[in-house]
């Protein structure tokens, strides 16, 4: 858990340190001041173009459930890092961070996500089926 704390601190500082340059219009849709860190249960992972999405049920303190729609990058990009449908499924309990939508807050941009069962960050470089280094 302590490692996770370090990770979250690092991510938060990096996010502040890096200016936004929209590829697909981050600034247009998402609010960099609305950073969220939530826990929930995955209801759907869509490996669709142009960007994949993870849908997560999040229960608030009053028991109200909101389904968050979190956008990633293209599924091809994630696939090339060695990730696939087996790595995150409906029913998985997760901790995730991201930025809420400017108007529809539960439509967010996903910054990091990990299953509570192993706390390993998903969808970055070096997935389980990642390519080996190119042979010389």
């Amino acid at each position: 858990m302590r490692k996770f704390g370090i990770l979250v601190a690092a991510l938060s500082i990096i996010a502040i340190a890096t200016p936004v340059l929209a590829h697909h219009g981050f600034d247009t849709e998402y609010d960099a001041s609305k950073h969220v860190k939530l826990e929930g249960v995955v209801t759907m992972v869509t490996w669709t173009n142009p960007h994949m999405r993870v849908y997560i049920d999040v229960k608030d303190k009053d028991g109200k459930v909101t389904n968050w729609n979190m956008e990633l990058t293209s599924p091809n990009t994630i696939r090339r890092q060695g990730w696939g449908p087996d790595d995150l499924k409906s029913g998985d309990a997760v901790i995730f961070e991201g930025f809420a939508g400017k108007v529809v807050e539960s439509r967010g941009s996903l910054q990091t996500i990990m299953k509570k069962s192993d706390m390993k960050p998903l969808f970055g470089p070096g997935g389980p089926d990642a390519a080996q280094p190119v042979k010389q």
């Binding site: 490692k3 370090i6 990770l7 601190a9 690092a10 991510l11 938060s12 500082i13 990096i14 996010a15 340190a17 890096t18 200016p19 936004v20 340059l21 929209a22 590829h23 697909h24 219009g25 981050f26 600034d27 247009t28 849709e29 998402y30 869509t46 669709t48 173009n49 142009p50 999405r53 956008e71 990633l72 990058t73 293209s74 091809n76 990009t77 994630i78 090339r80 890092q81 991201g98 930025f99 939508g101 400017k102 108007v103 529809v104 439509r107 996903l110 910054q111 990091t112 960050p121 998903l122 969808f123 970055g124 470089p125 070096g126 089926d129 990642a130 390519a131 080996q132 190119v134 010389q136």
Partner: protein, 302 residues
Amino acid sequence: MRKALVIAIAVAALATILQAQGRGGRGGRGNDNPGRGDGRETTNQAGVLTDNGGVRYINPGSPTVPEAEINSHPIPRMPDGHVDLTGPWVGGGSNGDIERDGGLKAGELPLQPWAKELRDKRLAKDEPYTSCLPMSVPRVNPYPWKFAYEYQSTGLTHIYVLHETGDAGAHRVVYMDGRPHPRNWVNNWWGHSIGRWEGDTLVIDTVGYNDKFWFDSRGTPHTEQLHTVERWTRTSWGRIENDFTLEDPGTLTRPVKLHFTGRLLRPDREGKADLMEFICLEDNEYGRAAQIEVGKGTDGRK
């Protein structure tokens, strides 16, 4: 906790440095999205991707052959002796800002006043590419692309430029059979491209573009007088250079030369490097989080 903070600051500093390297140097492409392998992939020490050109979501970019392996193989050749430019490549054109990506300093792109004014008033939400319209020349985004040679009984007749995305499924044709540009052409998204070899450099001359696409997400415009000349040279196994001449008397006060660099896509675990399926319109929800209507870059002509 103090240790955690120190580590966090160190990681943040590293990421910022890496990003700065990626944006500045490279003598070519400055921006993101694509790039890769040239210092623009900013990951933290935990191995989690945190930022790729400033886009704040998980976006590890397209992996490219590392710099240390750029010369690890000879430059390949086709059976007929032509240099093999196939790729797939990542980068090699503009994306975020053609001026910066092409190696110019801020303000060096000789835009006429009206063009500069239009660029500055365009809104990111109206970028045609985000509505799945073609990026056209010289733009490439973070996703891989390749040259595909077509040989017929008469030899090399066509070269196709296939981009994994951003082109709504279109392919670009470069005629290699010696034909001239046509007369009475209907201007379109990719224009009319004729190619020739100058040694091992593929020279592509294109006219006949429409004025609907943007050179970059900044909104740099052009007119139908646009004329481009690309000079593609594979300078090593893992690198391709694009010496690019941009001519548009409707937009620029003079022709300008830009330079872009592409990197070879890293092979997968089976040793293959291929383009993948990409259907831009499949689930394009762009704009909904802000409940805005995207404009398709039409500058008011919706």
